[in-house]
Amino acid sequence: MKVAVAAAVLLVAASTAGARPVATPGVTSSSILIGGTVPLTGEAAAAAGVARGADAYFKYVDAKGGVLGRKITYKYVDDGYEPQRTFLDVRQLVQQDGVFAIFNSLGTSNNAAIRGFLNQAGVPQLFVASGASTFGRDYKKYPWTIGFIPTYSAEGKVYARYLLKNKRGAKIAVLYQDDDYGKELVSGLQTGLGPKKSLIVKKVGYDPTASDVRSEVAQLKASKAKVFMIFAFGKFAVQAFITANQLGWHPQIVVNDVAAATSLMQLSPPKATEGAISIVFGKDPDAPAWKRDKGLKLFRSIMTRYAAGQTPNGYYAAGMAAAYTLVDTLKKAGKNLTRKSVMTAATHLNEKSNPFVLPGIRIHTTPSYRFPISQVRLERWHKGHWVLFGPLLSAKP
């Protein structure tokens, strides 16, 4: 027996002694290099907080010794929200800088543009900052890709279920951005309504390069619907609120998560937005409900220390949530960190302790279920703030 133990010990010692640093790009015994792309300039620049928040969190983790002795460096590059630039940036990050993985890149078409390349090159595309369901669904073709936030189609279904329960029989009018982002929200809504799909009496798409959507909103008002779904982006959502109000139309408004940032909502007069409904998965730093919350206290202290001078908002919090999950994943991948081991870890998540998402949300994945966050809560806009109501709901795609 003693001989066997001694032999085993010797064997283990021999194997670790002979082990050289793993020849995985971006990984050394003391560091990990992660790459990503976000719009630091251009029309979507407000969302760049996602990368900055994540970066602040990594600095916090590094100050405490990093992950299993390795410090994370997060190199995020501006792509101006243009998929062509995203593509070139990512090829540079992978081929020139030798990053270990691409993390938290923002934009649906942006991520779609790099997915083929990353999967061919065997580079993990982790926790994509887009709700398009293809990133979690098409894993058979793209095994190195995994999403993060609840999908747009799941979001549409959540709204459908809410309406069927609370606004029975009410006619629905939908304004949607005429691209994949808007169309997926619409199809989710339709699927969720099932046989009651005909409650959607009018849907109108708008051109994302247009200057205003007033004509479209006027068309929707003419349908006399009692529910108005705003599946839009940025200023178009604000215009939709304001135009509906100006036209004297006061339906129950439902606005999608991405367009519901507090800073955007506050651009419309209170009368136009009061009572609007949306979903949320993270803790909104602007919501009074989380004033004393420990998770947000941590958020604020990290922001003060590592992102001084920047305004903490929902984007930063979302970025930190993704960063927390990445650190969790890296820990799980172990000391012998390879691209394969990190994908295995990412597809076996069971995280209940993320301080930046709503309490009770379990970040959960399996190799065939790649939608880390699939629970949300509903919230209502009341007197200039988002107020949560109802229980945790399922947002399975």
Partner: protein, 307 residues
Amino acid sequence: MSRRRLALNAAGFVVAAVVVAFLPRFISSYHALEWANVGIYFTALLGLNVLTGYSGQISLGHGAFMAIGGYTSAILIAHHGVRDVWTIPLAGLVAGGVGLAFGLPALRLRGFYLALATFGVAVAFPALVQKFDHFTGGSVGLPLTLHSNDWLYYLAWAIAGAGLLLGRLVLATPIGRAFRALRDSEVAAVSSGISPALYKTLAFGISSFYAGIAGALYAIAAAYVTPQTFPITLSLFLVVGLAVGGLGSLAGSVVGAILIQFLPPLAPHLGHAPPQVLEGAVLVAVMLLLPGGAAGLLRLVQSSRQS
């Protein structure tokens, strides 16, 4: 052209060809991709030079012709399984055909009006791609086969080299003389029997043929096409490259192509200003100080050396 000039030009071309052929051994794989893009822009600029530099017609919408070529290629590859290399000449022909068709009504437009019309086409084109999404893939786009950077580099430059030779050849024929005559004085050209309709339309066709080929290469290099692959800024940048390289100088187009590829990534390193500030400033400065572009500068240097 004198025998001596011809020999010098040929020698220059051979030297350049050798440099291009051996460059990938000395640079990283990613840099090979960047230089492949330079080759692609060069091909597009060759065509644009024929149109604007030689036949005097302004196009602010050549990105749209690249898009036509790029999408032709992508649709053939993604929906019909055609091997990507074979789609390139087809893409050129389709784009060239559309260019010819566009050239006819364009005859009635001059100067600013043509610039405006082509600008409008480039702005509206992505919307058309989105509209016909059942075969263009809409905003999801069409994924294509990925190739190694070195393969792309050699393909792009082989085509660029062929394009340069072809262009030189065409311009040396009576067609080229007709173009130049039209550019210098349309009235004089007409009175010597040159039909503007024929040659101007031909110029549009040739330039969009080149643009279509460049577009197909662009799509293959990106391994993916979406309506945002060919935005209005691409059209504007082509004009920038043309102007900076020098109108009427085929070799100057290389300078222009290098500018288009390397200026945007360079900009962030020169201070915190967004890249557009540098790009715009360079453009304005070149137009004010050196309207002949790089080729003009070269001519200046040459003539000052002779005197």
